[in-house]
Amino acid sequence: MEKIKFLIRWIILLFIIYLVLITWNSKTHTLENFANNMGLEFVGAVLYPGKWLKFQVSQFWNDYIELRKVREQNKKLIQEIKKLKIQEIPLKIKAQEWERLRRLLKFKPLQGWDFLGARVLCYRLGPSNLLNSFVIDIGSRQGVQKDMPVLTPDGLLGKVLKTSLDFSTVLLISDSNSRVPVISRIHRTKGILQGLDSTFELVVTYVPITSPLDVGEVFLTSGLGGIFPKGIPVARTVKIENDPTSLFKKIIVRPTANFSHIEEVLVLKRHNLSSNKSKEDK
């Protein structure tokens, strides 16, 4: 009987401690921030040199294997170089022409935003990772903040979920908790892109049944949410279903970026308007 009483006391005590901690944390975010800075930083600090070492060892081994084949290849390559040098001359002229045209166009993508390059460190880590996310090797010290858009040259990947000093977690648009306001490129049909926990298919919701849209049309970010800049390609329409009982279309889309092989990403950072103004004043 005493044992049961003792256990009940322990249950109540543990429950109270847990509730106090969670309530305090939900108000102040102290524990959460501390866990992010400590936990993510520790994991990054352990994994980063480990991955570097693995890369160096595998590269050294590959180099050794390759070295054996090099001699034979070398003879062939010398002959090939001679041929290529002749072929190179017209290409050089074309490259110079392209450079001139590029300067003429002065293409400025995403005005008001800066890019930060980052490498993907790891994907799902342990049982606390249940969302479609990955860790990148830049954090708040490099200027990364929560909700910053993350993309590849092919299209949008997601946004920054949380940051530590040198590492950040990115939530992919394929996660079912992710919502991105989008607009179609040709017909300018608006909708909300939602993940389905699949890397191949996503869904665009709240598109009225009367809105025009073609299969193959690309959806871009509409810029309405205030998080993503306008005009980033997100997904291509694969299937359009018109349900007569519904007011909205069911649109299945495929992301333009390849989620299965992400190695390097770009984090978009807004220009600091105040610093720009002060620079202009100077």
């Binding site: 044992k3 256990l7 322990w10 249950i11 543990l14 401690i17 847990y18 901690l21 969670i22 944390n25 524990l31 959460e32 501390f34 866990a35 992010n36 800075n37 400590m38 936990g39 993510l40 930083e41 520790f42 994991v43 352990v46 994994l47 480990g50 790891c122 994907y123 799902r124 880590l125 342990g126 049982p127 606390s128 990772n129 249940l130 969302l131 996310s133 860790v135 979920l161 949380k162 530590s164 977690t169 939530l171 079912s176 908790n177 926990d197």
Partner: protein, 155 residues
Amino acid sequence: MKELCWWIFITILGVFFKDWLTGIDFFLPALILCYQKKNFFCAFFLGIIWILIQEGSGDIPFGATLLWYMAVSFFYFFLKQFLATNNLIFITILSFISSCSYYVSIWIISSLQEIVVDQYLVYSYCIKQFFLFPVLWAIYFYLYHRIISKKINLF
């Protein structure tokens, strides 16, 4: 000093294996080993560090790992009243409880924070955890006695 090095090694190894084997917690069996060795001071600090690592590197809102570790710790001391702890049967029972506690803690946090979690992923993590928990514990137990205390009595 030897023991400190052992726990640092387990922590670093746990982080590497977390990256390699998705969804497996490598720290909880080690925490149980710490309890079994009656090293409660060490268990307290290691528990805090491991919870912070799990919560910090995770992508779900704060609280799930804390609740899970607290539940497993409670059940460890509860079962200890009735069963001998240094055997695989006890660990298998605890492993089952750990998997159930994990599911419940994820369900509570996802419901409270209104996030959608892939249920199949949670089930798969539970199953993996159930089967690997005793294996991990046995490995830690064997290595601990081999390296630290030089006594082996697995069953």
